[in-house]
């Protein structure tokens, strides 16, 4: 048995130690050597400081952290007997901005991580500057986000009871135009086909219609025998609701309900990242999980043929962006600007409470738990998606990404499988 070490640069670093057997990967240990102590920092602070501090956990999914933090406060208020009724306007605006963040993340991951690495791995380098495409798309879509949130990354415009912004019709028109511009980019560069037609695709047999960089990627994966590579436990979990999606878990395609109280974290040896499980079992979270739990037809069709392998996982993430774009546009159309932006007073409304905020972030379910006593935070827990996907696992189960990497034929292939999870070390270790 040979052990090989690899340092992955993924918005920070992860160390991967591979055990190789007869030329393929037998086991992997993933560890992180990075720590800031954000949960410790939150203790003894004003409960609302979480709205400013937690987004700074991550420069990529900061908005999801803000919404989870505000969700935890609102849930805490409700638990303390204070009615929290958001206007539809506030809910739609929050959802819209979250959708924008997910889209920019997915496409940046696609162009800056997946495509270049896949080209290198298959020896089919096109010499195109994919980073510029990523930059164009994420610039465009985060402008739409900033119209309501003020800036991206690190905005703090969501507050208990709603949002601080009071957009005008001109703002909504501007945001709509930016969404349309993003859709055009999809049509011309990413999928190479009409957007509406793409949305109707619901079976593997129609996938040949997809052109552009996405079509090319699916083609590369297929022709290099990687479609079945990277299968894991085929167990998925989603805790957040919204964005047109429901929560639940999927085990071998059977979907059932979930409750956050069964989520448990524990420390892992030799790593600053904690592991997490649901009723002692390991689940995958993220776009593939959302598609499986919500039974997205095309992803189910791919899953039937390729299980939870590389092709299905990569497809699910890019595909989700198209569904989100469509949803985002719909949200803008539904906005009634005459509704109030915020329905709660800005002062702290309860001295002692406990609350949980759950949001579907780009990489999967994000959970914030806050405990407040005498107007101070006494405990704050942040459970991030990458913890689900990258943990070492339990005694019965390997971790999700570890299971997916086992059996791959080289370190390079394993590394590609690893990155197909869109990992983020800064979130994981906080």
């Amino acid at each position: 048995m040979i052990v090989k070490k690899l340092i992955e640069k993924i918005e920070g670093e992860a160390e991967l130690n591979f055990s190789m057997h007869k030329g393929s990967v037998e086991d992997v240990r993933i560890s992180f050597g990075f720590y800031r102590g954000i949960e410790e920092i939150l203790v003894n602070k004003s409960p609302r400081d979480a709205l400013v501090i937690t987004p700074r956990v991550c420069g990529i999914c900061n908005h999801a952290h803000l919404l989870a933090a505000v969700g935890a406060l609102e849930n805490g208020y409700e638990n303390a007997g204070i009615a929290v009724i958001l206007s539809n306007k506030a809910r739609y605006i929050r959802e819209f901005t979250l959708a924008c963040e997910l889209i920019q993340n997915h496409i940046k991951w696609f162009y800056m991580t997946i495509l270049p690495q896949l080209e290198r791995l298959t020896g089919e380098e096109g010499g195109e500057n994919h980073a510029l495409k990523a930059s164009y798309l994420s610039t465009t879509i985060t402008k739409a986000l900033a119209i309501f949130a003020g800036q991206w990354p690190h905005s703090s415009y969501a507050v208990p009871g709603g949002v601080t912004c009071d957009p005008t019709y001109v703002d909504v028109m501007q945001a709509t135009a930016l969404i349309d511009e993003t859709i055009r980019f999809f049509e011309q560069v990413i999928i190479g086909m009409e957007f509406e037609r793409y949305l109707q695709i619901d079976s593997v047999t129609q996938l040949h219609e997809v052109q552009g960089d996405f079509g090319n990627t699916l083609h590369l994966l297929g022709t290099h025998g990687m479609a079945h590579t990277g299968q894991s436990h085929d167990r998925f979990i989603v805790f957040g609701e919204g964005l047109g999606m429901q929560s639940g878990k999927s085990i071998a395609t059977t979907v059932s309900r979930v409750e956050v109280r069964y989520v448990k974290e524990w420390p892992q040896k030799g790593s600053t990242a904690k592991a997490v499980a649901y009723k002692d079992r390991i689940y995958e979270t993220g776009p593939l999980a959302r598609a499986m739990v919500n039974k997205a037809p095309i992803v189910k069709s791919l899953h039937k043929r390729y299980k939870d392998g590389l092709l299905t996982r990569i497809f699910a993430r890019v595909h989700e962006s198209t569904a989100l774009l469509s949803h985002a546009k719909h949200l803008l159309q539904k906005l009634d600007l005459n509704e109030p932006s915020c329905t709660l007073e800005s002062r702290l409304l309860a001295d002692t409470f406990e609350g949980v905020g759950v949001v579907e972030a780009a990489r999967g379910s994000l959970i914030h738990k806050t405990r407040v006593e005498a107007k101070k935070i006494t405990n704050y827990e942040i459970i991030v998606p990458t913890q689900w996907n990258l943990s070492d696992g339990t005694e019965q189960d390997r971790g999700v990404a570890v299971e997916a990497m086992c059996g791959t034929r080289s370190i390079e292939e394993a590394s590609f499988v690893f990155r197909s999870f869109d990992v983020c070390s800064v979130c994981t270790t906080q």
């Binding site: 070490k5 640069k9 670093e13 690190h154 949002v163």
Partner: protein, 413 residues
């Protein structure tokens, strides 16, 4: 930035100011002009590093109008607080940016500043600059993994010894002998990594509030004993570009200034470039008229909020925060926090995470009113701030202190 925005920037930064000396007289600028000329001519003789693409070809390929480019150059000249006669020089400097090597490292961070850099100033200039800057090493943007990345970094610092600009994102954890953050296969601590890389850098640029003042990781109780670059690096020119995230315009501005003059820009006592941090948010705030008229938002979503009134009473820290975001704004100038009624959280000031953050009105925050301590930390120009507006704030602050007290009494009751 749109055209109107660019014009606004120009008019602002060429205006007379009590705080920053925007007109130093003809003799000064003539001498500076000659220096810049000589510097650019010398740079032009060098070949682009590693065959980086030429700015002119990129502009043509991207279909960018020369007129738009010159507009951008003229706005940037103004942002750098140089006279309009420097515009052609700034344009030239942008073109030879591929001659100055840049190494970008991430330490105890969230990658937010890299994210911000990715969506720098428009139109299209951002993409071009990203393509042109001789970014010899950047983990996230280059995405090479493992030993490949480490090798690339080592080669870059050896090859460009003494010449590269080191951009640092993230704070430096000193606790447990640096064990809270390590890098590479040999697990070099962030402290050692930064010390080693800064040794042969021409200058070190700390980007974002973590790299400048320790940022969120340094918030009480500072579990990892995190500090900023200036607490670790000694004997090197350091430029601080705080804010969370730092404004990409200011990152590009510092780089351009270095290309143009070969020197670090004029800094305040916190090592922040005066061209970006010589003004308070409040000075140029779009809601300033409402402050002067005494019209405030009292609660999120109230009538005042609908009318874009001043956010001072809901905790805006604009009056004591030095930064140019009220002019430059974020995300290609689309918006900024005050624009969505959120108020400034003072993210470019030291200790913002403990003292300024969230909507605590000033009186409830652990900071002194603007007539007292805050200005003293921003050099002599800060002392010149006590204009009518400054006095106005003091009065409001006192009123607010009373209001705040009442509120806390009410909460206790």
């Amino acid at each position: 930035m749109g055209t109107d925005k660019q014009e606004a920037v120009k008019s602002l930064f060429t205006a007379q100011s009590a705080k920053v000396d925007t007109n130093r007289g003809d003799t000064y600028y003539e001498k500076l002009y000659d220096q810049c000329r000589a510097r650019l001519d010398a740079l032009k003789k060098l070949a682009p590093i590693n065959n980086r693409r030429d700015f002119r070809t990129v502009i043509e390929e991207e279909g960018l109008e020369r007129r738009d480019f010159l507009k951008w150059a003229s706005a940037t000249t103004a942002m750098l607080m140089l006279p309009a006669s420097f515009t052609p020089l700034v344009a030239e400097a942008a073109m030879v940016m591929n001659r100055v090597p840049v190494v970008w490292i991430e330490l105890q961070d969230c990658a937010g500043n890299s994210e911000a850099l990715l969506r720098s100033d428009g139109p299209k200039i951002d993409e071009i600059i990203l393509d042109i800057i001789s970014l010899e090493f950047h983990e996230t943007l280059m995405a090479p993994s493992g030993h490949q990345a480490e090798k690339q970094l080592e080669e870059a610092i050896e090859h460009f010894k003494g010449k590269y600009l080191l951009f640092v994102e993230g704070s430096i954890p000193r606790g447990l002998n640096g064990a809270f953050g390590t890098i590479g296969a040999k697990a070099e601590t962030f402290i050692d990594h930064l010390t080693r890389l800064s040794k042969d850098a021409a200058a070190v640029v700390a980007v974002g509030s973590c790299a400048t003042f320790g940022g969120i990781p340094a918030a009480a109780p500072n579990p990892t004993d995190a500090v900023g670059v200036m607490d670790v690096v000694k004997g090197k020119p350091i430029i601080n570009i705080p804010a969370c995230p730092a404004n990409p315009s200011n990152m590009v501005g510092v780089l351009l200034h270095y290309v143009l003059t070969g020197q670090v820009p004029e800094l305040d006592s916190l090592l922040r470039p005066k061209f970006a941090f010589g003004y308070r948010i409040h000075d140029n705030c779009e809601r300033r008229a409402h402050f002067d008229a005494g019209e405030y938002v009292e609660e999120w979503g109230d009538e005042g909020a609908k009318n874009n009134f001043c956010l001072y009473k809901v905790g805006c820290k604009g009056p004591m925060t030095f930064n140019n975001c009220s002019i430059i704004r974020y995300n290609e100038g689309v918006n900024w926090p005050v624009g969505v009624g959120r108020g400034c959280i003072g993210c470019s000031e030291p200790d913002f995470w403990d003292k300024y953050a969230y909507e605590r009105p000033m009186a409830n925050a652990n900071i002194k009113a603007p007539t007292g301590g805050v200005e003293k930390t921003v050099d002599e120009f800060g002392l010149g701030l006590l204009t009518a507006a400054g006095v106005g704030i003091a009065i409001h602050a006192a009123a607010s202190a009373v209001a705040g007290k009442k509120e806390s009494e009410r909460e206790e009751a």
